[in-house]
C-alpha cells in the first residue's frame, strides 16, 4: 500500500465520531461572520448596520485575485460591524447578524435532487467558485478559484483529491465521503472539467476502509476517477506528502504542486464545489466534528459559518467539567482557543475538547541528540538544529538549513522524548526568516 517515504509519525487515531451520522446544527440565534476566512486579502464589507440579509447573500466582497467572497449564513438583521477574536487569536472585522427565520436567497436550489450533468463551461466554473466563496476546506483555506486557474506555461495532468484526514479525532471528511459520496464525485468531475484534466485520484487512508470501499464503488460510474487506499501515517494529508505518496512526484522546495503538473483539492472542497456549481449554493456551511474523550455526545454537524463554538459544544452535550483546552482543527496542527465565543469559519473542520490532564505539556529536558526528530520530519529537515538556530537568533544559517521548508506539521515536537518545544522555536524562526527575506527583496 502506498504512503510517503520520509519521516512521519503515528499518533493515536481517536476517531470517536467516525460512526456518527452528520446532523444539522440548529440555526443559531446570532452569528458573527469574519471577513477573513481564507488566505489572502480580507473581503470588503458591502452591507450596512440594520440592513436585512438573506441566507447566502454576499456580505463581503473579495478584494483582489487571492481573496474570497463572504456570504451570510443566516437570514436576519445586521446588528453591527465590529471586531471579534477569531480562531487564530487575532482580532478582525466581522459582520454580526441576528437571525430572523431562515430565508434563503431565491437562486439557491434547496431540493435534494442530485444533479449529475455539468452544464457550466470551465471558465464559468472558476467564476462560480469565486462568486460562491469556495476555499480549500482541508484547513489551509486557499481560495479555490486561484488553484483552478492554471497560469500560462503551466500544465496540470492529474487532479489529486485529498480524503486522507490524517489528523487524529477529525471525521468530517470521512462522514462526508460516506454520506455525500456521489456529490463529492460530481464535484471532482467539475474540478476536472475546470482544470481540463481527464484523470483524478482520490487518496484515502486505510483506517477508513468503509469510505475506501464506498468511494471505489461509486467511482466506477465516473470517467477517469480512481480511489487509492493509503497506509496510515501522519502527515499524509499534507499536500506535498500526498502528491509523493500517490504519484511519486516531489514538489521542489519553495514551489507549488502545479510545478509537478498537479493540483490538490480536499474532498470537502469538492463537495462545496458541487453545491456551488450544481445548486448555486455559496459556501456558508460545512461539516465540523465536535469531539473529545469527556464529551457526552460527540458528533459531526453541518454548521453555518459564524456560529459561536459554544453552540456546537452545547449540541454535543455541553462542556465537560474537566475541559482544559479547546482546539480548533486537529490535535497536531490545530489552534487552541481562548474562549468559546470564537466563530466557526470555513477552515475549521473540528473542535476538540481536551481534558485538563491532556492539556498541559510535560517539562522539557535537555536534548540527548537521539535524532528522532530528524527521523520524524517528513521534509527531512533537522528540527533540533533549526530550534537551536532560532533560539540563538542565527537566522541566516536557519535559512540555509531550509527552515522555510517546514510546514509546521508538529511531528518533531510530538516525537521528542525530551519534550522539547521544537516547533515553537522553529515557527518563530521561520516567520523571522520569511520577514528578513521579504525585506531583502524589497530593498533590491
Amino acid at each position: 500500500m502506498k504512503t510517503f517515504p520520509i519521516g512521519g509519525v503515528h499518533p493515536p487515531e481517536n476517531k470517536l465520531t467516525s460512526g456518527s451520522e452528520i446532523q444539522y446544527l440548529p440555526v443559531p440565534a446570532a452569528v458573527a461572520i469574519p471577513v477573513v476566512q481564507h488566505i489572502g486579502a480580507p473581503a470588503v464589507v458591502v452591507v450596512n448596520k440594520d440592513e436585512k440579509v438573506k441566507t447566502g447573500q454576499v456580505i463581503a466582497q473579495s478584494k483582489g485575485f487571492v481573496s474570497s467572497n463572504i456570504h451570510s449564513s443566516v437570514s436576519g438583521k445586521v446588528t453591527k460591524i465590529d471586531t471579534i477574536i477569531d480562531s487564530t487569536g487575532y482580532k478582525q472585522t466581522a459582520v454580526f447578524i441576528t437571525t430572523e427565520g431562515d430565508e434563503w436567497d431565491e437562486t439557491i436550489d434547496r431540493s435534494n435532487e442530485i444533479i449529475t450533468e455539468i452544464k457550466l463551461s470551465p471558465e464559468e466554473i472558476v467564476k462560480r467558485c469565486l462568486e460562491s466563496g469556495i476555499v480549500g476546506l482541508g484547513g489551509a483555506t486557499f481560495p479555490s478559484h486561484v488553484k483552478l486557474t492554471v497560469p500560462a506555461g503551466k500544465r496540470c495532468d492529474v487532479l489529486i483529491i485529498n480524503g486522507v484526514e490524517c489528523e487524529p479525532f477529525l471525521t468530517s471528511d470521512h462522514r462526508l465521503m460516506l454520506e455525500r459520496g456521489e456529490e463529492i464525485l460530481i464535484g471532482v468531475s467539475i474540478l476536472m472539467k475546470a482544470l481540463k484534466v481527464n484523470k483524478a485520484m482520490i487518496g484515502i487512508e486505510n483506517n477508513k476502509p468503509d469510505a475506501v470501499a464506498h468511494m471505489t464503488n461509486l467511482a466506477t460510474a465516473f470517467q477517469g476517477i480512481t480511489v487509492h487506499a493509503l497506509k496510515v501515517k501522519y502527515p499524509q494529508g499534507a499536500e506535498k506528502q500526498l502528491i509523493k505518496a500517490l504519484i511519486k512526484r516531489e514538489v521542489p522546495s519553495g514551489k507549488l504542486p502545479l510545478d509537478v503538473n498537479t493540483v490538490v483539492h480536499n474532498v470537502g472542497t469538492a463537495f462545496a464545489v458541487y453545491e456551488a456549481v450544481q445548486k448555486n449554493k455559496p459556501l456558508f456551511e460545512r461539516v465540523v466534528t465536535i469531539t473529545g474523550k469527556s464529551l457526552s455526545k460527540p458528533g459531526n454537524y453541518f454548521v453555518r459559518t459564524g456560529t459561536p463554538v459554544k453552540e456546537l459544544i452545547a449540541a454535543a452535550g455541553g462542556m465537560p467539567e474537566d475541559t482544559g483546552k479547546i482546539v480548533s482543527g486537529g490535535p497536531m496542527m490545530g489552534k487552541s482557543l481562548a474562549s468559546t465565543e470564537v466563530p466557526l469559519t470555513k477552515g475549521i473542520s473540528g473542535i476538540i475538547l481536551f481534558p485538563a490532564a491532556d492539556s498541559v505539556r510535560k517539562e522539557s529536558m535537555p536534548c540527548i541528540r537521539c535524532s528522532k526528530c530528524i527521523q520524524a520530519c517528513p521534509m527531512n529537515l533537522e528540527p533540533y538544529l533549526l530550534m537551536t538556530l532560532s533560539e540563538k537568533g542565527l537566522f541566516e544559517r536557519a535559512e540555509k538549513e531550509r527552515i522555510t521548508d517546514c510546514m509546521e506539521c508538529g511531528s518533531c515536537s510530538y516525537t521528542c522524548p525530551a519534550n522539547r518545544p521544537l516547533l515553537d522555536y522553529i515557527r518563530m524562526g521561520k516567520a523571522t526568516v520569511i520577514k528578513i527575506a521579504r525585506e531583502r527583496v524589497s530593498k533590491q
Partner: protein, 333 residues
C-alpha cells in the same frame, strides 16, 4: 465557565516516548549480557557492576546537588546506563577503588564538566575505561578465566584474551594455525566462554540486546551495521591477502569488544552523529580504526580508542553531512 482554558501552539498531542523510557530500554537490552556475565564470571561481575552503577549515580547526584544546584535529573537513567557500560568494559576482578575512580572520570570529568546529559562530546563510559587502561594497565589487562561462581573475585585465576594470545603469538613469530588451537572455538566465543571484559564476551547476549533495541526503535541499524560491516570487509581483505598472518573476519568479530562497542557504545545518542549518512561514515570509521589498532597498533584491542577518535569528528559530521531534504534534488518519474 469559571475555569480558564490552556492556550498553546500546536501540536497538542505528544507521543509516549520519554528520555527515561529510552534509557531504561537500553538497560533492558543490556540485561541478557549482564546475566551471561554473571554466569561466566560469578561474584566478580556482580561486585564490579554494582560498584560501578552505584558510584556513577552517586557522583552524578553529588555534582547536581552541590555544584549545579539544578533540579535533580538522576532519575533520567543516563547515569545508570553509563555505570552499566563502564562495568561491561572492564575485567571482573578489577579492584573496587579502580572502578570508583573510573566512575568518577566518566561522570565528573567526561559528562558533568561539559554541562551534563546531552552536552558531552566523548562517550563517558569509554573515557572512564581508557583512563583506567592507561593508569592501571596491569589490573585492566588481567582477565579472569570464565568458571562461573568458581571464578572468584580477588583470587580469580587469570589468562589472556583470544585477541592478546593471537597478537602476542604473531609478534613472537608463532604461526596463526598453531595459535588458533590455544583459544576457544568460534562457537565457544559466540556463547561467551572466553576471557574478556564483563559485558563483551557473549556475542549471543549482545545480539539479543541489539534485536531489542531495533524492535523498540531505540536505535537504528546504521551505526552497528556499518561498524560490523566495515570491520568484516577490512579483516576479510587482510585475511585473503595473507591467511598465515591475519586472523579471519569471524575471529575479529567474536573476540574482543566489537559487538559491545558497535551495539551499545558507538550508538550512544549524545556522542554519535544525527543523520543516517553521517552515522554510516562514523560507523565505518570505527570499524576501520579498530582493525588498524588491532593489527598494527600497540594494543590488542582498539574498539574503545576507535569510538573515542570518531566521537571527535561528530560535530564536524553534524555540520557538514546533511540529510537529503524533501524537494531538494528532484527527479520526477
Amino acid at each position: 465557565m469559571g475555569n480558564l482554558l490552556n492556550v498553546s501552539p500546536s501540536p497538542h498531542a505528544h507521543g509516549k516516548e520519554t528520555t527515561q523510557k529510552l534509557m531504561f530500554g537500553v538497560v533492558l537490552a543490556l540485561l541478557p549480557s549482564l546475566f551471561t556475565s554473571v554466569f561466566y564470571f560469578g561474584w566478580g561481575a556482580i561486585i564490579v557492576t554494582s560498584v560501578s552503577v552505584a558510584s556513577c549515580l552517586l557522583f552524578e547526584y553529588l555534582i547536581q546537588k552541590f555544584l549545579f544546584k539544578k533540579p535533580m535529573t538522576i532519575t533520567d537513567g543516563s547515569a545508570l546506563v553509563t555505570g552499566l557500560l563502564l562495568a561491561f568494559n572492564v575485567p571482573s576482578n578489577l579492584p573496587v577503588f579502580i572502578v570508583v575512580i573510573g566512575a568518577f572520570i566518566s561522570i565528573a570529568v567526561a559528562k558533568m564538566t561539559f554541562g551534563g546529559l546531552g552536552n558531552n562530546p566523548f562517550n563517558p563510559a569509554l573515557v572512564g575505561r581508557v583512563f583506567m587502561l592507561i593508569s592501571f594497565p596491569v589490573q585492566m589487562t588481567s582477565w579472569p578465566v570464565p568458571k562461573g561462581f568458581a571464578t572468584g573475585y580477588a583470587d580469580a585465576v587469570t589468562g589472556a584474551t583470544p585477541l592478546a594470545v593471537v597478537k602476542e603469538g604473531l609478534k613472537n613469530g608463532e604461526s596463526l594455525q598453531q595459535l588458533l588451537t590455544q583459544i576457544p572455538t568460534p562457537s565457544q566465543m559466540f556463547l561467551g566462554n572466553m576471557g574478556g571484559s564483563i559485558g563483551e564476551v557473549a556475542a549471543v547476549a549482545l545480539l539479543i540486546g541489539f534485536i531489542w533495541l531495533l524492535y523498540k526503535k531505540i536505535i537504528t541499524w546504521h551505526i552497528p551495521v556499518s561498524v560490523i560491516g566495515s570491520l568484516l570487509i577490512f579483516t576479510a581483505i587482510l585475511w585473503l591477502a595473507n591467511p598465515e598472518k591475519n586472523a579471519s573476519p569471524l575471529f575479529h568479530l567474536l573476540a574482543g569488544g566489537v559487538l559491545l562497542g558497535a551495539i551499545f557504545m558507538a550508538t550512544d545518542y549524545v556522542t554519535s552523529p544525527m543523520s543516517p549518512l553521517a552515522m554510516i561514515i562514523y560507523g565505518c570509521g570505527i570499524g576501520i580504526l579498530t582493525v588498524i589498532i588491532r593489527v598494527w597498533g600497540a594494543y590488542p584491542e582498539g574498539v574503545s580508542f576507535a569510538i573515542l577518535i570518531m566521537n571527535a569528528f561528530v560535530p564536524l559530521m553534524n555540520t557538514y553531512i546533511k540529510p537529503k531534504r524533501f524537494g531538494e534534488e528532484v527527479k520526477n518519474g
